[in-house]
């Protein structure tokens, strides 16, 4: 039994990489890292997931890029970023200097571009893992998004996996608005993904009834925030049930420790915080503290014991450690 002074072992593993705790920023929600480090010590996060890095600098989409929706927001930023050269020269070294574990998200328009990015990052010091943002249009397939096509996703993952150093895990980031997310997840794992991340933002749209035009310049945008949390839980549930041995980075509308615990119970061993960072610059550390409290209240000694726990058969008590061999650890 836990005494109140005892703390919960919050360590978790992203494939074989140990993280001090399961809370990370979500890709594209922490800019370069400098902005949040005005408020929090980035070294206290499990990891910082960078914005999706592209080969060339990108100006992104025109404004308006954002529209608030009930318990959520739509965004069409269009991967604005400095390009891989500036990222390697200044952004990544600053993250490393601050003691942050950097999970580098990459985005490309073709398998070759993803591979080229992986090659550039392969020898960069301080890359804890690579997250492959598969929600990008494949220019070789009429702009169809990789994440909607299991074979295309697998091809990208396999190529990045083959290029990256063996000790840097490759995480495939999946989109929820696909016909069968388990099929895409399975294809990515077969392609060599060491872990999966879900969910990217589903596409949404809103129309301004005053101007009678779409609210976003791009028309459609990615929906994020608490509005999509049930969608995230469903995706995590299905994928964890189908692939119980694959570590999953869960995200989708996590605002509190309770939300993070919900995703963990569904099967996530790492939880990313996105939209909440726009609302509260301290969100990650607050959520971490709340999560630890909740685990302690429920008598957990280790975070790992809670991962996927909602999958236990009805009537069964909390799983014992021995039952967790097939889970993310």
């Amino acid at each position: 039994m836990l005494t109140p002074e005892m703390s919960v072992d919050m360590r978790t593993y992203l494939a074989h990489v140990e993280l001090a705790n399961p809370i990370t920023t979500a890709a594209g929600c922490a800019a370069s890292g400098d902005e949040l480090s005005q408020f929090i010590d980035l070294a206290r996060l499990g990891a910082v997931v960078t914005r999706s890095i592209t080969m060339a600098p990108r100006a992104g989409r025109p404004t308006p890029r954002m529209a608030e929706t009930p318990s959520g927001m739509l965004n069409a930023v269009g991967l604005q970023g400095p390009g891989v050269d500036v990222f390697l020269e200044s952004e990544l070294p600053r993250l490393v200097e601050r003691g942050a574990r950097a999970v580098v998200s990459i985005a490309g328009g073709s398998v070759a571009e993803y591979t080229a990015l992986a090659r550039r990052l392969a020898d960069a010091p301080g890359v804890a893992a690579i997250e492959v943002n598969l929600s990008c249009p494949n220019v070789e397939d009429l702009g169809r998004v990789f994440a909607r096509d299991p074979a295309a996703s697998a091809e990208v993952v396999a190529s990045v996996r083959a290029t990256m150093r063996y000790d840097v895990p490759v995480v495939a980031k999946l989109a929820p608005d696909v016909a069968d997310i388990v099929a895409v997840a399975r294809a990515c794992v077969d392609g060599g993904a060491d872990a999966l991340a879900m969910i990217n933002t589903p596409l949404g749209m809103s129309i301004d009834v005053d101007t009678m035009r779409p609210s976003l310049a791009a028309g459609t945008g990615g929906l994020s925030g608490p509005a999509i949390r049930p969608l995230a839980v469903r995706c995590l549930w299905q994928v964890h049930a189908a692939l119980p041995g694959v570590p999953i980075v869960g995200m989708g509308g996590v605002l509190t420790g309770r939300d993070a615990l919900e995703l963990i119970l569904a099967g996530a061993c790492v939880v990313s915080v996105g939209t909440a960072l726009f609302h509260d610059p301290y969100a990650c550390l607050r959520i971490l503290r709340e999560l630890e409290e909740l685990l302690k209240e429920r008598g957990f000694e280790r975070l790992a014991d809670a991962v996927g726990l909602a999958h236990r058969p009805p009537g069964a008590g909390p799983r014992q450690r021995i039952d967790l061999e097939e889970s993310s650890l």
Binding site: A30, T63, M66, E140
Partner: protein, 298 residues
């Protein structure tokens, strides 16, 4: 004129007073950490909707006044435009508000005394009074030009009359001051005051017009822009506009971090709402030649 960055803080402030000012609302909040770091031109970002809000994005406002009372207060002025601002307008004394600030690049102030014209459109004039105070302390001459569509939308006319060497008011319907826009009155004010610099805060179209006038007179102009944003501290990447850098390259920069105050002639007003073809990283632009086939879609 280079300003050093100020570290923002998050403060749970207590509402001290609320008041209606013509068409606008003003909210004074006890927020010591923000008040002590504040410089004219800084903005504050406010969470709206309370603890279990369905509005995840923050609202960003310029600061009208900073006072030392109760350890430091800030006064925000805003117009009700949607659910978030109407929630804010319903706040009462002693309510709590989650504030982050001070944020952004403040107005740069000249080292030596000079003549300054301060131009405000609608509630944009709110941010000019703290600036006027600082300028006058430095021995600058301050002239105001304030305007709006109608009399009830001109903010701070009385205070401008008290502070300014001259104050010119304009309304589009002629209900107060001159009939017309601030840009109609501005050339005469600049000429009469022999102005060395123009500061402006207000709607984007007004800032564009003011910049054009200042460029005609060949004097520097500092504009404070208002763009819709989700956070106010640089992470959401939604408040960008095309601005020409010192190196002559146009970049899509964030109005909350690199702004909200920009040199007017550097802002490509006519291209706001687009990605100019020559901007760094624009689709199909030179910067992407090395980048395989990346298209500007996500």
């Amino acid at each position: 004129m280079r300003e050093t960055a100020v570290t923002p803080v998050q403060v749970t402030g207590t509402v001290l007073t609320t008041r209606r000012v013509d068409a606008y609302h003003a909210l004074t909040v006890v927020a010591p950490g923000i008040a002590e770091r504040f410089r004219p031109g800084h903005v504050v970002s406010v969470a709206v909707g309370g603890p279990h809000t369905s509005m995840p994005t923050r609202r960003v406002f310029s600061v009208h006044d900073v006072k030392p009372d109760y350890g430091g207060t800030v006064e925000l002025v805003f117009a009700v435009r949607g659910r978030g601002t109407s929630w804010l307008a319903e706040r009462k004394a002693r309510d709590s508000l989650d504030l982050v600030g001070p944020l952004g690049r403040p107005y740069p102030v000249p080292r030596d005394p000079c003549a300054c014209v301060l131009v405000g459109g609608e509630y944009g004039s709110a941010s000019l009074f703290a600036l006027a105070d600082t300028l006058q302390q430095r021995g600058c001459r301050v002239d105001f030009v304030l305007g709006a569509a109608s009399a009830d939308r001109v903010f701070g006319a009385l205070r401008a009359r008290r502070m300014g060497e001259t104050t010119t008011l304009t309304t589009e319907d002629g209900s107060l001051g001159l009939r017309g826009r601030v840009t109609d009155a501005l050339p005469a004010v600049i000429a009469d005051a022999r102005a060395d610099v123009v500061y402006a805060c207000g709607p984007m179209a007004m800032l564009r017009g003011v910049t054009a006038v200042a460029v005609e007179f060949d004097i520097p102009v500092q504009v404070s822009v208002e763009e819709s944003m989700a956070c106010g501290y640089g992470v959401c990447m939604t408040c960008v506009l095309p601005v020409i850098g010192d190196d002559g390259v146009t970049r899509m920069v964030r109005s909350c971090v690199e702004g909200p105050v920009f040199r007017g002639e550097r802002v490509r007003f006519e291209d706001i709402g687009t990605i100019p073809f020559d901007a760094l990283g624009a689709p199909g632009g030179r910067a992407q030649e090395g980048g395989a086939h990346t298209r500007n879609v996500s």
